[in-house]
């Protein structure tokens, strides 16, 4: 799977937060798959994404959104325009 499958806005945010290049943001990327994505970066990423798409995620769901594709699915379920 490639980064092309991740919407560019989401890809760019994650690249900034995780300090990696946008091409490295694939749907399978997730907590623990790279060094920089630890629990604090996870919180940072979620907050940045919430700000960008103007949505609020349920805190009990946040720890479960451990990959790019899960985050993407949650945003779509919340009605965000990616």
């Amino acid at each position: 799977m490639s980064s092309q499958q991740v919407p560019s806005s989401l890809r760019d945010i994650l690249a900034d937060v995780l300090e990696i290049s946008p091409e490295e943001v694939t749907p399978e990327l997730g907590v623990g798959t790279i060094d920089t994505w630890d629990s604090f970066r996870h919180l940072q990423a979620i907050l940045a994404i919430e700000g960008e798409y103007n949505v609020q995620l349920d805190p009990s769901r946040i720890p479960e959104l451990t990959t790019v594709s899960l985050i993407q699915a949650e945003l779509i379920a919340k009605g965000a325009t990616l």
């Binding site: 900034d16 919180l43 700000g51 960008e52 805190p59």
Partner: protein, 650 residues
């Protein structure tokens, strides 16, 4: 609002600047990228990451202050760190951040072996939640009657005092202590919160005042009024209950930028002296309209709109002046016209010409006028702020005098000028001393002295005619805040330019053989206040002078010689036979490069552990001790009175 192409362009510029290690360009582009309000969190993280990569260039090329910073906390701060890093760089600080453990703040502050104590930081940010500072208050205040509220506040402040004092006793780091935020909603409701004496809102305001008062008693410590910041940005959106309850995040993500900006602005006075002079333009800045075209009756000032916008600005300037910021007029006008306007419109103006330390009203270039002012007042250009409505004048100053801070007055929206000015941090000070308050008179007296110098015959006669009196006192009583302020801001006559903290000065005053002397000066024209400081220590037969400095306002009157002579006498009393002076050259202290040679010292070899820039000089005290000039009257010299407080015999 930036469009996405502009954003991407700016980000590309920043990347390129980082790649070529160009700190100036990186900061310039980042400033533009982040100017969009609200800035995108991802952009802030991008900038933080970029800045971290060029920390060395920021410190070396932009002279950013690099601060080893330790965050003591009981809340989640990690998502806020990129915002803190970025805001700090935009204010020219590079923070090397370490974050302490969640629950370990008590141990960190009290235990001399804690990670905090061992890391010897330059700065400690103490960010605790109300729960940790005074956790029982919400319940005690629930009925508004408040049995036990006072006692709880008392206990809480005592507990914090113990933490801060204990930490201070073993560590000289600057401290920022954050207060509590008044909760937006409580079970009492708004009316009862406002009316009942012991509502939570009232209790927390009282707690914050007590904590601020406590911080004033701790050296190098500021209170960070986060509640004021929350009120300014809107309490309703300051906190996100969801994220506080789920992750103990104390502020909402939308407030991260404002919070980080407030933190940086509050910590800044711990490290940087405020600017000292505000130069204001007249036409369409101090008043509305152009005097030369509309005449004194035609310019807008006074109680009616739009004149009252200008009156607000004039009153704001007068308030700055009352705490020692010097005001100057820099205007292209006819001098006689301006004087007439101040006379004719006196009733409509919030200022008189007497409120200005100097006026530069001519058709000269404004950069020339400001340069002249700097020379006349013996102040560096980095002490100046320039306010003008004309974009061309503003740009000229930015280019020709980059050290001067420039503020463009909004000519079409004059009501905004006061807000624009107060949003800037350049006059921020955590402490105001009596010397600050008296500064205007002192600088005016300087002008009178310059006049007398022209009429007096020879130098000694002139100096004698000034009737100068020097009073020596312990740096701890100068008052102490003034001594520390002198160390922080004296540049020209400063032999070593060591920016010691208050704790380090106390160390000189209390250690065996140490001395920390301040000198206060007055003459027939006025009281210059405490203007000089010296720190030294005798070990064995040698007294080493760590610091010797004098405010540039009083250089050339022999006061530096008197200070050295006084220090020499103390050194002899502590058993020294040799006086060793040190000079560390900087960009600004050339005026005192030959100080020791001029006083009979000879160059001496550097000790092994000395810094390579230092030049050492020595004087054999058994042959000749420095003597004070004849034209000075000395006070506070009696050894008994003095030695008790500042000289401890070894």
């Amino acid at each position: 609002m930036q469009n996405d192409t502009e954003r991407q362009d700016l980000r590309r510029h920043i990347k390129e600047a980082v790649a070529s290690n160009d700190a100036g360009a990186a900061v310039r582009h980042a400033r533009r990228l982040l100017a969009a309000a609200p800035s995108k969190p991802a952009d802030v993280m991008f900038c933080a990451s970029a800045f971290t990569g060029i920390a060395e260039a920021l410190t070396n090329d932009l002279r950013a202050k690099r601060l080893k910073t330790y965050i003591v906390r009981s809340v989640t701060v990690e998502p806020i760190l990129p915002f803190l890093t970025t805001e700090a760089v935009l204010s020219n600080y590079v923070l090397d951040l370490t974050v302490g453990g969640y629950g370990s703040y008590v141990d960190e502050l009290l235990n001399p072996q804690s990670a905090l104590a061992r890391s010897k930081p330059d700065l400690v940010l103490i960010l605790l939640d109300l729960e940790d500072i005074a956790g029982r208050l919400p319940d005690l205040c629930a009925d508004g009657i408040g049995n036990g509220v006072e006692a709880e506040i008392e206990e809480s402040v005592a507990r914090v005092a113990q933490l801060l004092k204990n930490f201070r006793s073993g560590n000289s780091a600057r401290i920022l202590f954050q207060g509590c935020v008044v909760p937006d909603r409580t079970s009492l409701g708004d009316v009862a919160e406002a009316n009942l004496p012991h509502s939570l809102a009232n209790a927390i305001s009282q707690l914050n005042q007590r904590l601020a008062a406590l911080c004033r008693t701790i050296s190098d410590c500021v209170f960070f009024d986060v509640d004021h910041l929350a009120a300014r940005h809107g309490r309703a959106n300051w906190r996100d209950a969801r994220m506080f309850l789920a992750s103990r995040l104390p502020v909402s993500s939308a407030s991260f930028g404002a919070y980080a900006g407030g933190l940086v602005r509050s910590l800044s006075p711990l490290f940087r002296a405020p600017r000292k002079v505000l130069c204001t333009d007249l036409d369409n800045t101090l008043w509305g309209g152009v005097l030369g075209e509309e005449g004194p009756e035609g310019i807008a000032t006074g109680t009616a709109f739009p004149g009252n916008c200008y009156l607000e600005y004039q009153r704001y300037l007068k308030q700055l002046s009352s705490r020692g910021i010097l005001l100057a007029v820099v205007s292209k006008n006819n001098d006689a016209d301006v004087r007439e306007a101040f006379q004719v419109r006196a009733a409509d103006l919030g200022l008189t010409l007497d409120n200005f330390v100097a006026t530069k009203i001519s058709w000269n270039e404004k950069a020339t006028s400001i340069r002249e002012l700097a020379e006349e007042l013996s102040l560096g250009l980095d002490s100046f702020v320039f306010v003008d409505d004309n974009p061309v004048e503003c740009e000229a100053i930015r280019q020709q005098l980059p050290e001067v801070a420039v503020l463009a007055a909004p000519v079409d929206e004059p009501w905004k000028l006061v807000d624009l000015l107060s949003a800037q941090s350049f006059f921020d000070a955590a402490v105001v001393t009596n010397d600050d308050v008296n500064r205007l008179n002192e600088y005016k007296a300087q002008a009178q002295r310059a006049e007398l110098a022209n009429s007096a015959g020879n130098r000694d006669e002139f100096l004698a005619s000034l009737e100068i009196v020097c009073t020596f006192l312990s740096a701890l009583d100068a008052p102490f805040a003034r001594s520390v302020q002198l160390l922080a801001k004296t540049n020209q006559f400063n032999l070593t330019t060591r920016r010691h903290s208050a704790a380090e000065v106390e160390e000189f005053a209390s250690v065996a053989g140490g001395q920390a002397i301040a000198v206060r000066v007055r003459d027939r024209f006025g009281d210059a206040g405490v203007v000089g400081l010296s720190l030294a220590r005798t070990q064995g037969d040698t007294c080493s002078i760590d610091s010797l400095l004098l405010s540039c306002r009083v250089i050339g009157r022999g006061i530096e010689t008197a200070l050295l002579a006084h220090l020499g006498q103390n050194a002899i009393r502590t058993g020294a036979t040799r006086l060793v002076g040190e000079f560390i050259p900087t960009k600004k202290n050339a005026p005192c490069a030959d100080f020791y040679l001029d006083h009979g010292f000879v160059q001496a070899p550097s000790p092994a552990d000395a810094s390579p820039n230092s030049i050492f000089y020595q004087l054999d005290l058994t042959i000749a001790a420095p003597e004070s000039p004849k034209w000075l009257t000395l006070e506070g010299k009696e050894s008994n009175e003095f030695s008790a407080s500042a000289v401890v015999a070894s």
